[in-house]
Structure formats: C-alpha cells, structure tokens
Assembly symmetry: C4
Homo-oligomer: 372 residues x 4
Amino acid sequence: DAVKPSAYGASTAGKPLDIISLDRLDTAVQEVIPEAGYQFVSGAAGDEWTLRENRRAFDDFRIEPKRLRGVSSDVDLSIDLLGQTLPFPIFTAPMGAHGMVHEEAEVATARGTGMAGTLYCSSGASHRTLEEIAEATQGPKWFQLYWNNDIEVTKSLLKRAKDAGYSAIVLTADALGPGMPDDFKAMGAPFRQDMVFGNHDPERGGSGNFFDQKVDLDLDAIKFIKDQTGLPVVVKGLLRGDDADRCIGAGADAIQVSNHGGRQIDGVPASIAALPDVAHAVNGRVPVILDSGVRRGIDVIRALAMGANAVAVGRPVMYGLGLGGAQGVQSVLEHLGQDLRSAMLLTGAAKLSDLDPSYINLVGPSAEANRS
Amino acid sequence: DAVKPSAYGASTAGKPLDIISLDRLDTAVQEVIPEAGYQFVSGAAGDEWTLRENRRAFDDFRIEPKRLRGVSSDVDLSIDLLGQTLPFPIFTAPMGAHGMVHEEAEVATARGTGMAGTLYCSSGASHRTLEEIAEATQGPKWFQLYWNNDIEVTKSLLKRAKDAGYSAIVLTADALGPGMPDDFKAMGAPFRQDMVFGNHDPERGGSGNFFDQKVDLDLDAIKFIKDQTGLPVVVKGLLRGDDADRCIGAGADAIQVSNHGGRQIDGVPASIAALPDVAHAVNGRVPVILDSGVRRGIDVIRALAMGANAVAVGRPVMYGLGLGGAQGVQSVLEHLGQDLRSAMLLTGAAKLSDLDPSYINLVGPSAEANRS
Amino acid sequence: DAVKPSAYGASTAGKPLDIISLDRLDTAVQEVIPEAGYQFVSGAAGDEWTLRENRRAFDDFRIEPKRLRGVSSDVDLSIDLLGQTLPFPIFTAPMGAHGMVHEEAEVATARGTGMAGTLYCSSGASHRTLEEIAEATQGPKWFQLYWNNDIEVTKSLLKRAKDAGYSAIVLTADALGPGMPDDFKAMGAPFRQDMVFGNHDPERGGSGNFFDQKVDLDLDAIKFIKDQTGLPVVVKGLLRGDDADRCIGAGADAIQVSNHGGRQIDGVPASIAALPDVAHAVNGRVPVILDSGVRRGIDVIRALAMGANAVAVGRPVMYGLGLGGAQGVQSVLEHLGQDLRSAMLLTGAAKLSDLDPSYINLVGPSAEANRS
Amino acid sequence: DAVKPSAYGASTAGKPLDIISLDRLDTAVQEVIPEAGYQFVSGAAGDEWTLRENRRAFDDFRIEPKRLRGVSSDVDLSIDLLGQTLPFPIFTAPMGAHGMVHEEAEVATARGTGMAGTLYCSSGASHRTLEEIAEATQGPKWFQLYWNNDIEVTKSLLKRAKDAGYSAIVLTADALGPGMPDDFKAMGAPFRQDMVFGNHDPERGGSGNFFDQKVDLDLDAIKFIKDQTGLPVVVKGLLRGDDADRCIGAGADAIQVSNHGGRQIDGVPASIAALPDVAHAVNGRVPVILDSGVRRGIDVIRALAMGANAVAVGRPVMYGLGLGGAQGVQSVLEHLGQDLRSAMLLTGAAKLSDLDPSYINLVGPSAEANRS
C-alpha cells in the first residue's frame, strides 16, 4: 500500500519506535494524529471512572516476588491459544475505525501485529474489509462479530470470516452502544466522512447497515455461530463469574474478561478486578483472556497469576499505529513482550505456568470486591 | 409569560439544550447567570464534604452487568408513584428561589418538567406562588411544605396546595436552617431584593412570615397533614433506617432519602450510602425516593438496584433552567431519561423491576457503613 | 493595655470578627501577622501528616442525624467541667508565645476568652506572666505546667498558679520537644527577641530557665501536683486507653486526648481517631477533653457523641487573636458555640447528654484503628 | 583526594549540612548535580508506584506513644550488628555509580559514613574500587556482591573484599536488571563515559565484565560465599516470609527486607509493608534490616517496632554526598540519628529493645496485606 495523506489528516508514519513505556505513547501520539482521532480513541464512557479504574485496580494486585529460585531470563513466553501459537501471551484487541488514526487503517495494524508474530483480532467495525485485513497479516487472526439484525448479513459476515482464514469468532457481548466518549461527542462526533465500514461496503462485497445491530442477544448466539462456521467462539465482555459459567454451558470456547476499555458503560469494575471471580467460575475449563488497562509486563504477570491465559491490548496498539504504522504496531507488541520477559525474571517465575495467586497479595477494593 | 431582564440579571433563556452530560452544565451555566445565583445553587454546607461525597459514593456501587440475557433497548421506563404515572423514574426535586437563576423562576421549571411529562415537586420556598406553579405544568405535581409556627399559615398552605391540584405533600424533615453555602455567605448572602417568597406574599393571597418555621417537628406532623388534606405524605430528608420505620409507623406514604444536596449539614453520609439501610428498613412497604448526587443514567440504575423506586434531581434542573428556561429543564430531564435507557441496556436489565442488588458489587466506605 | 506596634510587627487589632468559618481565618490572618508568627502557629512536626489527619479523620465519623424528634433550637449547651460552668463545651487550648501573633499576647487571648464566658487554659510557655493572664479574664482558668528540672521552680509555678486563682493544673504529657515546624526551622526559628517567657522572668517575679524541662516524667507527677496545690489535675496529651487508665489510677481528675495539634511528633493518630479507645477505657470515671482539629460545630458533635465532655480549640483562637485581639478571640469562641447550636438541631439531638455513638457511623481508618 | 570538576560536572562540594529534613535535600540537590545524575538516583522502575508506596505505607504504621513512663532523652541508640557496633541502627545502603553525583564518588560516601561512625555497605557497582572505598572509611564495612557468570571473577571479588577488611557479604537477590528509571532511559541513559566500574577495571586490579551477571541464583549461593570467605552473609531484597525462612535454612546470617528503592520492579509492596510477614517468619533467629523509604526518625521507630534491627538509607545519603561530599554524608546520617533520638523520647520508648508492635496501630493496605 502506498500511504497518502487525506483531507482528514490521519498519520502516514511507517517506522519502528524506540519505546520507553506504553504510557508515553499517549502523549506522543497527540502530536501526529488529528484531535478527533485522539479523543475518539483515548476517551471512554461517562465520567471515565472505569477508564481510570482499569489502571488503578492493577495496584491492588501487589506482586510478591520469589527470590533465589534459579530463574533465568530465557523463559519460554509462547502460548497455545485455541490452537494458535503466539510468541507471548499478548495480542491485539478488536478496535474499530483505525482510519481515525492512520491512513492505512487496519491493514497496517494487522500487518504490524503479524510482523510481531502474534494474534490480530479484527473488529467488525473496521474501515478496511475483513478480507483486506486477513491478507495483511502473516500471523493468526480472529474475527469479532457485530450481529446484524438482518440475519443474512450476519451469516454473510461469518461465512466471509471463515473463508478469509479467521480461526475463531469473537462474540462481543458488551458493545451495545456507540462507545462514544463525552469529549468526542462534544466535538460533534467528527468521524471521517471519506471512510465507511468496510465490511458493509457494497463496492467491496459487503451488505447491510453496520448500525443495524442486534442488542438483545442471548446464549443461543454462541451455538448459531458454531453451527454456521465450525469455528471456536470467544465470548468477550464478561465481568461476572455466573455469566462465564452460563456461556461455557452454552458452548463458549474461551471467555474474554473486558469492560471494552471503559467505552461502553461507566461505573463497572476494572477488568482485572473482575478477573478472580470469572477465573474461579471458569475453573480451567476454557482459556480466559483479559483486556482493558494492560500497559506493563507486570500487568501481564498479574493477570496470568490470577487466572488469565492471555491478555489483549488496545489503545497502545492504536498509538503505535499512529506513531509508526505497521512497524509501530510491531514495536508496541514486542516492547510489551520484552517487558513481560523482564517482569518474569524480577517476579521470580521460571515459566508462565508457574504464575499463580501465590505471587499476588490482593488488597484494596479489588480484594473487597472478590470476597464472597 | 414574557420574560424580561431585571436589574439582578437572571437568565431569560428559552431554548432546548444539546446536552453531552449534566456535569458539563455546571460550567456552562456560570456564564449566563449572576455569580450570586451560581454560588447559592452550587454550594453546600460547611466544607462541602457531603456535597463531594454525594458524587463519590456512587463509585462504591459498582455495576456488574449481566450479558447475553436478551435485553432489548425498548424498555418500559414508566413508573407509578403514589398514583401518578411518570415516563421514567426521575423527577424534579424541590428547590427554593428559582428567581436566583431565571427571571421566570419556578413557572419555567414547572412548565419544563411538565413538558418532559414528569413530576414537579414545588418547594415551599418558591419565588412564584404555588398556584402559579401548579398552573404552569401539565404533569403531576407535589407540594413541599415548610411548617410555619403560625398554624393558620401552615393550614392555609396545605389547603391551597390541595386546591391547586397537588397530589401529595412532601414534609421536609431536614431543612432546619437557611441552607446557605459559605461562599454565598461570604458574598453577603445577596438574595434578590425584587422577589419575595410567593406563597407568603399578601399581594398574591399569601400570609405569614416564611422564615418563622417550626423546627421541633415530630411524627405527629405526618398525621396532621393527612387529616388536613387527605393527601399522601412523603417524608423527605431521612438517612436512617430507624427513622424510616418510625415515619411509616406514623403514616408516611413514601420515604425520600436525602441530605438536601449537602446544603443543611455537612459530615452526613451520601444519600446513596444511606439508601441500603433505609431500603432494608422500609422493606417494600412504601415507595423509596432518593435525591442528592444523581447525574447519570448509571446513578439511577444504582439507586433502583439498591431499593429506590425513583430519584429526584436538583441542581442539574436549575442549570437547565438557567441555560434554556422551560425548554432547558425539559432537555435535562429527557436527557437523563434517555441516559437511563442506555444504561439499562448496558447493565443487562430488561425492565426496572429486574434491578436488584445482584447487579451491584458494593465496596468501600459505603459497604463498610452498611455492615451491621 | 495600650497596644503598641513593635519592631517585630505583631498584630495590634482589636475588633469583633464577622466569621464565615474558622477555616477562612487561616488565610485572612496571614495578611496581618508576620510570616514567622504564621509559620510558627500553623505548622506542625515532620511531614505534617498528623496535622492533616487531625482534620481528615473527622470525616470517618459520619453523623447520622435523627429526624422528627421534636428537637428545638434553644438547647442548653452549658456544661460543668471540674466544678466550673462553661456556656458551651468549648474552651481555649494552652498555646505558647502569643506574642508571635499579637502585641498584647496572652492578655488579649485570656480577656477575649473570658468575654465569651468560657475557660482559658494558660500555657506555661506564655509571654505574659500567669498572674497578668489570670487578671485579664473574668472566666474560669486552668494553668498548664511545664515541669522544670529545678523542683523549686516547679513548686513556685504551682504555688503562683494556685494563688492567682487557677482552678486546675494541666500536666502536659506530650510536650517533650520544641514543637517547631520544619518551615519555621527553615526560616531560622525567628522567635521574638523582645519578649521572654513571662513566668520565668526575674523582673516579673519568675525564676528558672524555661527550657530546662524535665522530660522523664512519670505517674508520680500527678500526685505531686495534687499534694502541692490541692487542685484537680488534667493529664493532657494521651492517645491510648491504657495510658488513660494508668493516669486515672494515679489520681488524674480529667484526661485530655491530644496530639498537641500535630506539633510534637508526626505519624501519630488524629486525636479524634484515638478518642473511642480512650473514652472506652475511661468509662465515665473522669471527664474527657479532646483537642487537635476541631473547627466546626459538627466536629464538637462528633467528639461528644464518641465520649468527650468538652473540646479545646487552639489555632483558630490564635487566628482570632491576630485578626481582632481580645474581641477576635471572643468572636471565634462564640462562633463555634453558635455553630454547635445549629449542628445540634441539624443532628437531631435535644441536649448534649443525648449525644452518643448511635449518632455516628464510624468508617475508614478510624474505624479500623478502633477494632480490637 | 583533591576533587576536580569533570566535563560531566558532578558535585565537588565538601561541607557539613544544616539539615531541616531529609526530604528537603531532594530539591536542593537538583541545583548542584547534573540532571542525568538526579534522574538516575531519584527515579525508579515503571510508573514508580512502589517508589511512592515506599513512603506512603509508613503512614499505615501509626505510632501510639506511651506517656508518663519516665523516659529520658539520653537513650543508648547503639546496636551490635553481626559483630560490629554502630552508634545508631542506621547505615548506608549499597548504591552504585556515585560518580553520577560527586567527583570523589564512593570514596567520599564511605569516608563520610565512617566519620558518622556507622556502617558503609559498598555496592558491587561502584565507580571506585572496593579497596579504595575500604581505605576511605574508619567505620565498619560490608561488601555487596553482584555475582558474575565467570565464577573466577566472582571468587576474585569475594577474596578482594575479605582481604580489604569487609566484615560481611551482602548477596543482593533482587538486582536482576539495570535498575533504570524511565526518565533516565528517556534521556538516553547518559551514564558517565569517563568512569568505569572500578572493581572490574584491569588497570586497578579488576577483571571480568560487570554486566555479565548471573541472574538464576539460588540458595546454594549463600553457602558458596560462606565457604569462600568465612564471612557472614546478608541476603538483601526479600519481601516474603517464606523466602526469609528458606534463606535462613540455607545459612543466611541476616535478612534485608528491600525492594531496591523501587528501582527493579514496580508493583511490589513497600518494604515496610512486607516487614511484618518477614519478621514473623524470621522470629528472631537472625537480624532483620529494612531499607527503601526511611526518611525520618519516626520511620526508624516504626521499622524497629515491627521487628527490624536496623535500617539502611540510600537516596538521602546520595543527596548529602551531592550537597556536601563526605561531610554532607556525615550530616545526613547524624541528622537521622538525632531525629531518631527525639522520636524515641516522643514515642515514650526508653531503649531500642522496648520497641515492639504495642507501639504501632497498623491500619490500611499494609494491615490488610499482613492479615493471613
């Protein structure tokens, strides 16, 4: 792809990043992408209490490192996730409308994720088509479905995803609204006018109206997707143990603990605070994934110690996209992998499977929330 | 009413508002109303700890949304409250002296509330007369009584309220002082000199001195009002379960949990923090209403899940009045109703009666305060 | 006294104050007294954690007001304290070196306290002599002793105090250092050079070196004072129930819970946080007094509800002294008395003896600290 | 040593300091040392949560002073630590690369520590050689080892340390990475180019590559050091009781509770928060030392009351070095000793061995973390 600037003015960058910390990308990216894109990506619902809590709650999970255990720095960080091998338990969370950040949109994000060798989860709200995105990455890929009220549109999306090589379908259970931050709303919700939702673009093989989404989904959706595709189903957006249990009973192959980065509803717990209850309910029957707030290797440690098998990362990947295109995305994911490697050594864990609650001293509101 | 500017300079606005969030009205209104009006309305007693706590404590009530439950977005939000139907469980709290904000004063607030189809609770400390206010709204209306030491004045107020069509009397149990914020006091308490308390204005059929209020009220007041009017009595301003129980025993038809927006005494708990104890004591015998701090749909969810039947809203309605007159008031109430609708969907509650404590994970000081 | 300005430049004000809140005096006084005086009075030990905690901890004591109890506003606030009648349970705490604030020094503070009709506790570290101070007030008075290593000096102080009409001796158990805030130290500890400790001034009948204080006091000190003077002994500066118990066993006639306004040692609990444990140990055997942090009527309510019989107030009295001399002191004490009256009404307590822990919902660190 | 300025521009100061508090040195030192040195010393890992928590957590340990116990101010503060007598239970923690702060580097720090009569713990990452450092101090000294992958280098370091008169070896169990703050990394990690790690400098009798450190150490390291040197071994960097127990079982002669000043891994508990669990596990079998966050005499009190025998101090010593060279270091240590003396008196403890948990009311997250 040749990357050309648009009237909107998203980033056209393409370069590897020298990353100090993912937090610092937040400031840096504001200088290279339009304010609209930044507000759309960085903001969250309501007063953004959940957005802040997604970070704060990690502090409740105090790491109690084990010392003089003969732990070396060449830990094998790779995992198997629903049949796919990832180089580290970190992948790209589904996010919509990457064109708000970079002119190449999801094609660059997917390519960069593949360059890092890890999983790309393609949002149903992408600017580019799922086929273009699938082609862009050499790595594993999942497709996240927004269920359309027109069942033929939904079936078509599922068929296209399977045909394009996606290996699992992510059923997002919490994306029931526009996910629009107040600051973005206050700007007049200035979405790009020159990009549409690729998967629904008649000129690119799509159909249906993206916004005509079914909100009153129930557990039957899981079986329907499995029947249509034969693929494993990941249910994303759960914050309760009983919901996880119900979904597994209905056939879910993995559970993703998520509050959608705080973008859908404010006032719900941090994902990490909800993890212990969910992990306890899942009890190892299926993999557990966590997103919303992961920024450091120590955050991955905390999530894995409390029962997650992998974590997904959103906003930092978008900032990497803005600052460096596909190479920036690769830099972000590899930086976090490397940071996890250091954190393993400093935590005194020789392999991922060693991580368990004995490494964590849980205090504060997150401890209180998980007392029965 | 033709709205004319005064020497005082209150707002004369009359227009619908495009509302991002009720919190943002606080800043906007400061540009269109006199400083005196803003300080009078926005401030609270003492160090304003309770004022801040009225907002903070909602964060202790973490919403744990239920997913894939087949919840649709066309929830019926209407409720029946003491025989009146409201389009949503949200109404206008009694507040005095609207002329500090808008030249039309309570007539505009009542009209706007009626335009939104919901309940207007008329304060005994209104600038306009209760009859003018009653006439201004097409919706249901309650009258809030300040008990006068001259029992004939009190009787007259009750009779006038009944005659004007008010369908319930609100006995405010906590308004025992002037409710004057320190910042307003520091300005010299600059009330309008060109407006008096309408209900006591001899020129408009009133009598008595508004300030000659009886403070040593007891439970007998409830029966007295019922005898005089035959109307249901709402006791407003309770923060204790035992007080609610006593009032119901004395004939109260509804209980309003309130700390008067923090305006009367500082250092008392947030209303939402007091709700669980009160709801437990009431145990469904009469409706429970909550005010003080409600700003978002998720706040209504929290209150209803913990046992409230409806919420009343104060300052945001005043800011809507300042920014848009009657239409501004309508915008505020309808915005909050719409925000509740979204919040129901995102919480995974199909109808209001589904809301119960299983949706809430209560932590922090509010949890501690409700442990017996 | 004619009040003349000095080279040091302390206040010479003499006027009643129109007080919005005692907190606001802190800002106002900075404009009328030398920086040295302000830093000396306002600061505290170390990082001033205890100073801040003295205020914050009151918020842990949430007032749960009782409603519709027939409480009127003409509450009798007077108390009897060791045989003296006070118009309200509030008096002036012992503080040294008032000349840092006002040219009349303690003579004005004592006179103002007497004009308010309440108790003046004279610090052993006064600039004026205990006799001058005794003469200045029409009200009750206590003398606070700094025990001198020269036992004859100590005996002389006790005899002079008795002769001058002081009705109790306060044994300060926690003033073991200079009580010098870091900011004041950083200024070079600029005490006035033109004023000395009056009680030790040979020209005014004094003897001994004020700084030659005995620090290794033990319980025998209580009996010694009683033997020398026949007066009741108040032990001030306790934060532990077991210390209170020991002191009562050794003859103490009252216990003053105090951390010396945070001036002696940082990192100790707020006085109000220590009160429940001390009150439980005292169990009504002797009166309990609390100082350190009282600024509002609601603070007095909290202290009395948790077992105090009276409160002492320090810095606000000094700020009243700076802003208005004797009349300023009177204004401060009467303002707080009036604020207590309003708080009683709003709390729903008909008389001081009604106040008990049923009015308080104790949460947070102060609750945690008082769990056994 | 003649101290000459370098192109780098570290401090050449040599003077005693008039210290108000150790916290204030942080600001002062920024004016006399290069930004690189300040960022390197003052910063910590990640978001610096642990760095902040190292200070905040001390507030959870509330001192409950005992009064009227006959405690005098001439307390004997001296201790015996592994056969060495210190004038107070405070010594200099091992820190690397003092040339980032002062041109004399560790020679000045060691000399100043010796002038204060207390223990200097020499970091393996010193700019000067261990022999130069040993010669510089008249006081006791320990050597902290970074274990080299080349076992001959490790053996050589141990032999040289013993030959130079170091009386114990500190095995740092937590220094597994570069300990580089994000802000310093963001500057490009501008270490001095004109100074190397002295102990590995071939021109000064050294060998090996400092950075070739063994990370997968286990308990055998303890016995190895003892066999090589016959000296006692201090294991530094533990935060868990079970680790302390394991190390004592493997022959450790002392345990140093430390999170390396927050420099290695963020998100781990404050040292003081980890102390109760470790002290309980050690149960008096060997001395316990605490570092990370000690700034005041009251902090020493808290650590000793909860089971520590001594504390080590890092950054303030470095700031003393920058501001005053050897004499500045002496000032820092003596100031803290003097501050401890005052704190003992104000706490009501007659001797160090009186300090026990009865002086502490433990609340907040540190209390929660130590509940089993």
